[in-house]
């Protein structure tokens, strides 16, 4: 009976982050798909339709700003170790599909609350 489970895709080049967030989300009833970078994310989106993508903003490979242009119909929350100005953050949040900007290091309970708020 998994048809009501929401699916979250975690895209992060740091395996510790991918694994720890996966464990917490699965414990809380979410289905999780993992991707190691933006290109892997695009490949997996051909077969998966997540409700939310948690997308690290700085990863090796194709820059995330290019990856985001190719994702048309899924909500995206940025995970960012990079510090931006307030104006830059607002600009990023003003882009299509971008629904949140989560600063790293994040508290896992706060992340869970945000995910619940974004997808239920």
């Amino acid at each position: 009976m998994t048809k009501n489970k929401k699916t979250i895709m975690i895209v992060d080049d740091e395996s510790d982050i991918r694994q720890s967030v996966k464990i917490i989300l699965e414990k809380n009833g979410y289905s999780v798909v993992l991707a190691v970078d933006g290109d892997d994310c695009l490949r997996k989106l051909k077969n998966e339709k997540p409700d939310l993508i948690l997308l690290d903003i700085m990863m090796p490979g194709t820059p995330v700003k290019e990856i985001v242009k190719k994702i048309t119909d899924v909500k995206i929350a940025y995970l960012s170790v990079v510090r931006t100005s307030e104006a830059e953050r607002e600009d990023l949040l003003g882009q299509k599909n971008i629904v949140d900007f989560i600063q790293k290091p994040f508290d896992i309970d706060d992340l869970l609350k945000k995910v619940k708020k974004l997808v239920g």
Partner: protein
């Protein structure tokens, strides 16, 4: 501790920082930039974020040239603006090296590299050590004080230790790793 006093004159210094070191970094650059010129290389905050923070804290940014290896990865940005060179990615070591070499032509008194830890997230092993060695040698040839920040992260111990061998002074400000 006054970090400015810990910097090795006309040589290379590495500060092993505690996990949250914005204040120490801000205090150092504020003190230096009052009268002396600084080239500030950022791998973890955007130029806009630094400018916002420095202006708020009354740092004299007229004496600072920024090299930003972050902004272009997250948004469209020109190659250079007044006061900043933008590099396409932290992994673009050749491009970063060229920008720093160009900046060194202006004879900055200080170069601050913030940080090796962030750089190592995008490039590992020999290219990093070669890059750091190039910067250290170039800075010394210009009598510039070069300062690197790094964190004490177990996964990066190898690279950081390698880089430490090239430094004239290592200053450990991380209480945890001092124990």
């Amino acid at each position: 501790m006054d970090l400015k006093n810990e910097i090795y004159n006309k040589g290379a210094t590495i500060f092993i920082m505690p996990p949250e070191y914005s204040k120490q970094s801000l205090d150092l650059v504020k003190k230096i930039a009052v009268k002396e010129t600084v080239c500030y290389i950022t791998i973890n905050k955007t130029f806009d974020a630094l400018k916002e923070e420095f202006n708020k804290n009354r740092v004299n940014i007229d004496n600072i040239l920024f090299i930003d290896a972050i902004t272009k990865s997250i948004k469209e940005a020109p190659s250079q603006t007044n006061g900043c060179y933008f590099i396409s990615s932290p992994a673009a070591l050749t491009e970063l090296g060229i920008a720093i070499d160009k900046a060194m032509g202006h004879n900055f008194r200080y170069i601050i590299f913030d940080s090796l830890t962030n750089l190592i997230m995008y490039q590992k092993g020999a290219p990093i050590t070669r890059f750091v060695l190039h910067l250290v040698n170039k800075a010394k040839s210009k009598n510039t004080n070069i300062v690197f920040y790094a964190l004490n992260i177990p996964e990066q111990t190898g690279e950081i230790r390698q880089c430490e061998t090239m430094m004239d002074r290592i200053v450990n400000l991380d209480k945890k790793s001092n124990k």
